[in-house]
Amino acid sequence: MKLHKLSLYEAKEGLDKKEFSAKELVTSTFSRINEVDEKINAFISVDEETAISKAEEIDDNRAKGEKLPPYAGVPVAIKDNMCTDGIKTTCASKILENFVPPFDATVVKMLRDTGFIMVGKTNLDEFAMGSSTENSAFFTTKNPWDLNKVPGGSSGGSAASVASAEVPLALGSDTGGSIRQPAAFCGVVGFKPTYGRVSRYGLVAFASSFDQIGPFARNVKDVALSMNVISGHDEMDSTSADIDAPDFTKSLDKGVNGMKIGIPEEYFQLGVKSEIKNVVKNAINTIDDQGAMVEDISLPTTEYALTSYYLISPAEASSNLARFDGVRYGTRLSDENLKSLYYETRSQGFGEEVKRRIMLGNYALSSGYYDDYYLKGLKVRTLIKREFEDIFGKYDVLMAPTTPTLPFNIGEQIDDPATMYLNDICTVPVNLAGLPAISVPCGFVEGNPVGIQIIGKPFDEAKVLQVASELEKTLNLGQKIPGES
């Protein structure tokens, strides 16, 4: 039996029914990683020894008949910008190359408490800044469908690890599309919950008012199950919502009959390639056929979203990343005097893209420019939020492409940051408004996966998952793994 191919719920069922042991499952994960990761480079670090011994412990306890947590023995990978107690958390940056946090992120703790076994930390664009994972200070992750192409970013490692069946579940973080865009490029399901639904405690901040943790899996049900684990109020995070999380699997089989679905026309302009449009429109038609009321709508502020995002998020980033100064932890590249300690550490420790955004952010916040840049960005953000509120007074969900293009070649856009930023054009508005949105595979163009995005009202994740599940069923693409049919 090829255990690595199992989805999250299949793995859980198999363990519950004792069809295989946790050790067998985890061992299969590492043999899969050993087999394919040399080519894909999804992982920055793996923790085989701890994982195997955890699995053995679970098997022992199962044999003794002890009550086990629900997912005892299921492997999971974590984007390397979430803190893991005693395990390196690098953010794919030289500045944190050897940083070992003394605590677990809340989501990591929740996964451990429900029995998941953390097998490793996945690659990303440095500090989650980028759309291709080429900004990792260590290496570029490859798209499992075509090793010449990027997996998307910034959670490219997590997306690729799930797509290539190294793990059934991986966590990523989404600031401007960093879960949905790589999910689309890698042909997996990626979900960004409502801002505040999942605790950010322990997620190394990029832009605090946008960042949100979410899951990657090979099907919608796995995403819903993992959302049940990681959702909920956290006292350690003042921005986490004090709202009870429902059972997200409850809505999965309800269908879309009678649902009102809006299709924002702007998301099909914005330089979206025609082959993407065709595949996405086709997916929308199948949903239409299932009894939903699908209507074209307009969100005119969409064209300002990217500008607003690129004023506010670097501003927050410039401040969030100021703590990496070489004084207390991480890399210190000179200690001749205080100035050189700061200068050398930060100019050599950060990569180009990170430095670019720090500069942008400092500029937008500096006195004399604040009103014209940062403040104006905030005002646009408010307009965008209101526009969504209005639309959601009339529609249950919105559907749109996840990305404007197919996965591009490694190196193709790296020297052109402005073009690179355009990759997030369809995903960024959602982060500005703090909405939940999922990317689901909806077809292939010349062997490249295409994703469709379903956007919901705040804290209405259940409905987003409901539509995603229906789409998955009707499109019936199967849980494809590259290289295997």
């Binding site: 803190c83 405690y201 901040a205 832009a207 003042s238 410039s318 100064d325």
Partner: protein, 474 residues
């Protein structure tokens, strides 16, 4: 020389009396080993987030109400960005444009004149750590203070002299202590003061260029530093020099202010709203709860002491200038038939020994019960006022009750006619020349004889009876 008017504005940082820090659960206890009171949150480790300590908000609002401020219905935290090794996140979480309290005032009294010093704003913020410079040139950081809760209280430029500045600080300290917002220990850094100073020609309505004076570690230092700075600015103007806008440091050992940095080097703090903390929305019911818990303030207490205990305005002022002393006196007064007596003891001997030994009233062994008892013994003639002082010293040193001291040392006043008569006769016999002097009208000699009798009685004879008997016999 032209005459100038001084303009001073003060910025006071007060450490709030909370058990834990503003955004984490670490202890705020003073005097711990370096980096003992720290956790990933207050060290600003990657991934950590701040959570506001509810008590901080309560205390800041309490301060606002006690200082006659308007409390903001809506306020928020902002980030103040700058690099320094004692600032772990490289930003300080503070309040910028929407502070928790605004538009208040304190009434101060300087040389009998009352005036209002307006308060522009009060905001909450976190403290930074402390750099420790070792002998070899290495610098180390102690983060124990990092994240300790502060309020900053900023006045309008209403203060017109260094004396007024000191009076304002004393009044402010008193209110913060009364409300238990801060212990205001300047020597432990829980009260810190910066001053903006400028001068302008008398009668002018245009302020001169101001300098900011920092690093003043006592009320006396504030007064001295301001006196120096005002003097310096006047001299500069007289010599035709320009005052430059700059930050100056008070050098305690040299008693001068020294330039630290000029305006050109001023920071651009790049303030922006703290995205990790939701805005603060103050509910009316919360405000009422806090208002209801504000104790009697110094001004009210002073008025009550005058009306309830019949004290003079001055005495009531002295007794309410420190909350602990006021509370101590209040206890004594409630137990005493004549509150004036314990008031005199406190203002006299008690405050003297406290000052001499630099101690607080709650650190000494004399309880209010003991002091009231001492007053009683003195009033009913059990002991003389001179002996009372002796008893007081014993009480202070050993914590013995006054009756015990009197008993143990046999200090009871002698009021037995026969016993005193015996001493008197002896003294008359031994001093015939003095007796002669008195008969010749030298009244002063009488005092000598009284002294002799007291000496024989070891100070215990009732002085009135001694006087009467001497007069009778001579």
């Amino acid at each position: 020389m032209q005459s100038y008017e001084t303009v001073i504005g003060l910025e006071v940082h007060a450490e709030l009396l909370t058990d834990t820090k503003i955004f984490c659960g670490c202890s705020t206890e003073f005097g711990k080993k370096p980096n003992e009171n720290v956790c990933p949150i207050c060290l600003g480790m990657p991934g950590t987030l701040p959570v506001l300590n509810k008590n901080v908000l309560d205390l800041a609002v309490t301060a606002g109400l006690a200082l006659n401020c308007e409390i903001a219905e809506f306020s928020k935290f902002d980030r103040k960005n700058y690099f320094y090794p004692d600032l772990p996140k490289a930003y300080q979480i503070s309040q910028f444009d929407l502070p928790i309290a605004r538009n208040g005032y304190i009434e101060v009294e300087v040389e009998g004149e009352k005036k209002k010093v307006r308060i522009n704003r009060i905001h909450m913020e976190e403290d930074a750590g402390k750099l420790v410079h070792a002998a070899g040139g290495d610098s180390m950081v102690d983060f124990n203070r990092t994240g300790v809760a502060l309020i900053e209280i900023v006045t309008e430029p209403d203060i017109r002299s260094p004396k007024e500045a000191k009076a304002y600080l004393e009044a402010l300290k008193n209110i913060l202590q009364y409300t238990e917002v801060s212990d205001c220990k300047m020597e432990e850094g829980s009260l810190r003061c910066d001053a903006n100073v400028s001068i302008m020609p008398k009668g002018s309505d245009e302020f001169g260029t101001k300098t900011e004076v920092k690093n003043m570690n006592s009320f006396k230092a504030v007064e001295k530093a301001l006196e120096y700075e005002v003097e310096r600015q006047m001299e500069a103007l007289e010599y035709g020099e320009e005052i430059v806008q700059e930050t100056r440091r008070w050098d305690e050992s040299k008693q001068v202010t020294i330039s630290m940095r000029s305006k050109e080097e001023a920071h651009d703090y790049r303030y922006f709203p703290e995205p990790d903390l939701p805005p603060i929305v103050m509910k009316e019911s919360e405000l009422e709860r806090i208002r209801a818990n504000i104790p009697e303030l110094p001004k009210e207490k002073k008025e009550r002491f005058v009306s309830e205990y019949n004290l003079s305005d001055y005495d009531a002022g002295v007794l309410t200038s420190d909350k602990k002393i006021a509370d101590y006196f209040d206890e004594c007064a409630k137990k005493s038939e004549n509150p004036k007596k314990p008031a005199n003891w406190i203002m006299g001997d008690l405050l003297r020994v406290l000052n001499e030994e630099n101690r607080e009233i709650d650190e000494i062994k004399i309880t209010s019960d003991m002091l009231v008892e001492l007053c009683k013994l003195e009033e009913d003639g059990t002991i003389s006022s001179k002996i009372a002082k002796e008893v007081f010293e014993e009480m202070y040193k050993n914590g013995d009750k006054p009756e015990e001291v009197v008993e143990k040392k046999g200090l009871k006043q002698i009021s037995d006619q026969g016993e005193i008569e015996q001493f008197v006769e002896e003294v008359i016999e031994e001093n015939p020349e003095t007796i002669e002097d008195i008969r010749n009208g030298k009244d002063k000699a009488m005092g000598f004889l009284v002294g002799q009798v007291m000496k024989k009685s070891k100070g215990k004879a009732n002085p009135q009876m001694v006087n009467d008997l001497l007069k009778e016999k001579i």
